[in-house]
Symmetry: C2
Subunit: 490 residues, 2 copies
């Protein structure tokens, strides 16, 4: 039997007893239970979905103290952040409850018959959406609540009428188990089948691949590394019947700034940026890993302020020892590829020091190694000579969750070109502030071109995350009984 060991993030010591990884039979049983639960859940009313989602939010809050303490041990993210993350997770569950209640999943396009022959004449049509089926949901390491068992993927899938099989993240197995216990209690209290939210676990890739390839799984949702996501995406595609796979992968989130913006922002802006680079020890998918600055005295002065601001930052431990080692490898790869260190204080501790390096645009564009995400409190400055070169740098990045554009105050051809160039590679553009912090709201777009996500037409955060799990179906000349149900055969 393969086992799964949790570790205390701060000490690196084993935490609790080893857990059993899910066997092939466990995975099959979980998926079959989710499929059985889907049979009724797909036809559930919005009020029933809202009741479950609200109950799950309340359950999280009711166990807050114990959950946060446990997650803190396993992740080292600290109590303030984890309390905030739990709030966010409950907020998100309630937001999808509201959407379910309002009937978001049941929206339809009514298209009455038009008399006469084609092309203008046509039969009565109605376009509805049907839930896909059981969703394989892969938890992320860096958000033990908000992108884990009860995170946005689970909330949006349940609101859409899908059941969920969670693949727990091996970085926080005890937190996952505890949240899963709350889920089971909530399902029971609402007389819903236990399989509506099932869970499997394992440290290696086998459990995930088996899950996404199970014939009854209808979609995958993933937040994590580019390598892990690409492997699961390939597995989803290799099925006899391919399924949608929504992966939110690596992103380096360029911050582009005019010299004027850096000059007027000054020390306060440098501190804000340093805070964003080191927030949560840099373990955010929207961490600003690339700073694209145009050469100027003002820019150089800002960089000096940024180095000072970073030096006083004290990042906490990283989530796992593996990630800590990957950070050192990543920063070393940048230096080997031609970047020059501005702040580099190698330490052997689990707590890393902030890292800052610089490189010229031509070298950056020519070196694919410099386009790789370095997960942790690290950022790379790329020096450009012109807006045209800045645009070339963005094009070399290729795909990113965000691009931040500071100083685009006026309607100029150059600013328009920057907006277009940034839009071409990212899902979210920010014109002030820092990219860390992703609002759970109607207009959010968390997903951009490869490698930042596998399905850039969709988002994993915000209201339209629901759309990922609903497939359009047109009903032509439907009978009266089905029309009375607005095309929902429940």
């Amino acid at each position: 039997m393969t086992t799964l060991q949790s570790f205390d993030a701060r000490t690196g010591q084993p935490l609790g007893a080893a857990l059993l990884a899910s066997s092939a039979a466990d995975i099959d049983a979980a998926v079959r239970a989710a499929d059985a639960a889907f049979a009724d859940w797909q036809s559930s009313e919005g009020t029933a979905r809202a009741a479950l989602l609200n109950a799950l939010a309340a359950a999280l809050e009711s166990d807050r103290e114990a959950l946060v303490a446990l997650a803190d041990q396993e992740s080292g993210l600290g109590l303030p952040r984890l309390n905030g993350e739990l709030d966010r997770t409950a907020f998100q569950l309630r937001r999808f409850a509201g959407l379910a209640q309002q009937g978001a999943a049941f929206a339809f396009t009514d298209d009455p018959a038009v008399a006469g022959g084609p092309p203008a004449g046509h039969p009565a049509m109605q376009r509805v959406r049907v839930p896909l089926g059981p969703v394989a949901m892969f938890s992320a390491s860096n958000f033990p609540f908000a992108f884990s068992v009860l995170g946005g993927d689970t909330a949006s899938a349940l609101a859409a009428g899908c059941s969920v099989v969670v693949k727990a993240h091996p970085g926080h197995p005890h937190t996952s188990q505890r949240v899963f216990g709350l889920v089971q209690a909530a399902l029971k209290s609402l007389n819903l089948p236990a399989g509506l939210v099932a869970m499997v676990q394992g440290a290696g890739h086998e459990v995930g691949v088996s899950l996404v390839q199970h014939p009854l799984i209808a979609a995958g949702a993933f937040t994590g590394s580019t390598r892990g996501g690409a492997a699961l995406q390939a597995a989803a595609r290799q099925r006899a019947r391919p399924i949608p796979f929504y992966g939110e992968l690596g992103s380096i989130n360029p911050v582009v700034a005019t010299p004027q913006a850096l000059a007027s922002g000054g020390e306060a802006l440098a501190q804000t940026l340093a805070g964003s680079i080191t927030l949560g020890c840099g373990q955010f998918c929207t961490n600003p890993g690339l700073l694209v600055f145009q050469r100027s005295e003002a820019s150089s002065a800002f960089v000096a302020q940024l180095v000072t601001a970073l030096q006083v930052q004290q990042p906490h431990v990283m989530l796992t020892q593996g990630m800590r080692q990957a950070l050192d490898k990543g920063t070393q790869a940048q230096l080997a590829a031609g970047a020059k260190a501005l702040l580099h204080e190698p330490v052997a501790a689990l707590q890393p020091r902030p890292f800052l390096a610089e490189v010229d645009a031509a070298t950056f564009i020519a070196q694919p190694d410099l386009h790789e995400e370095v997960f942790g409190p690290a950022s790379l400055i790329v020096w450009t000579d012109s807006v045209a070169q800045t645009l070339q740098v963005l094009q070399a990045v290729g795909g990113s969750l965000t691009v931040t554009l500071w100083g685009l105050n006026d309607d100029t051809p150059e600013n328009r070109a920057l907006v277009r160039g940034a839009s071409a590679i990212a899902g979210r553009l920010l014109f002030t502030g820092v990219p860390t912090g992703v609002a759970v709201t109607a207009a959010q777009q968390h997903g951009g071109p490869w490698p930042s996500s596998t399905e850039p037409m969709s988002t994993s955060v915000g209201d339209t995350a629901l759309d990922r799990f609903l497939r359009p179906v047109s009903l032509q000349d439907m009978p009266a009984w089905l029309a009375a149900r607005h095309g929902q055969p429940c």
Copy 2:
């Protein structure tokens, strides 16, 4: 130099001189021209897009007689059908002109700032959509107008603000060239760059693969065979930067009927169905290739009527000699896999005879060969013993553009189960009539689970075909000048 020869569909004789297939340099030049044209077209206003689309519709109509005669020679589809198809194509161009004029591509979600910290508080957000870039558009053999140079993919891509590189179909190269000449004249008269709609051609797979793998191509749109579509999809995925690939591939379009529906429909219904099976020599993606009937006296009587109705049908020639040969191979494969012929009159002519066979549900479910599309005037009856078995048959089909459900007049558990089972595998359900005929309208969904399409969340026909070429981008705290333009940096 590789060449490309057109053939007269009725005689099989060469038609006109051989054409040159596009070289690697030709393909590169076409894509570069489309990319250069995209730079401005992405920021064009709805009125400009509408003007072009309306001009293209008028251009088709102005050259109707010559176009239809040429397409008839190359395809053998007949003048009435081709005149109707030209009408449909012009209608579709004008419909997307109307959508462009109404600003469909510029719709946005406005999400004003909410004061306070997260999770409830958030910055001002606006979700807009940006055109993807130059689209590689692969024409189909079976619709020389409606799914070719100026078909729905081109119309929707232009309306979305994308440029297009057409891969002409080798089955009707002269028709494609003539339409392309009209396009070029229309672009010139509107002072638009010639590269806005570029074209390449070739008989083999190389041209298509090179096109979809060109680094400046941003999306693919394809209508054709499962094998061809799968190869191009794989090529799109193997790029350093994968792109969306919208393929509409093979579909067997089950028609499910209750014994009561067959009894009451009788001879008239048998004739309608026979007409649908043989329409256009069965060369429709929505051709009813599978008839799922429950064993009963009424069903047997209907099948006898269907055989009679099919016997008097005189399908015209098939599009190409290759397709004619594939039809014989397909029907023979069905017989080899356990189906029994009810109507099978082998002929060596380019004009095939209708084919009808039958098989029991258990054999159908067990034999993947019977789930393959047979392109042509052929259909396979699957006999079931119960609604439960009918549902198993649908599940074995897996993915289809349509499912037709006759006789679901009442709200019963069995009928609800049939609607759900059909929704699970198809993009369009019909409750009366036959699946051939796909209305160009607001609520159309032409695309279902694999193998019927590669992206079943999207449609290749109807208003929402536009959505395939627009990617969501959130604008956070955008400056006043950009907000005044509703987030469009044109």
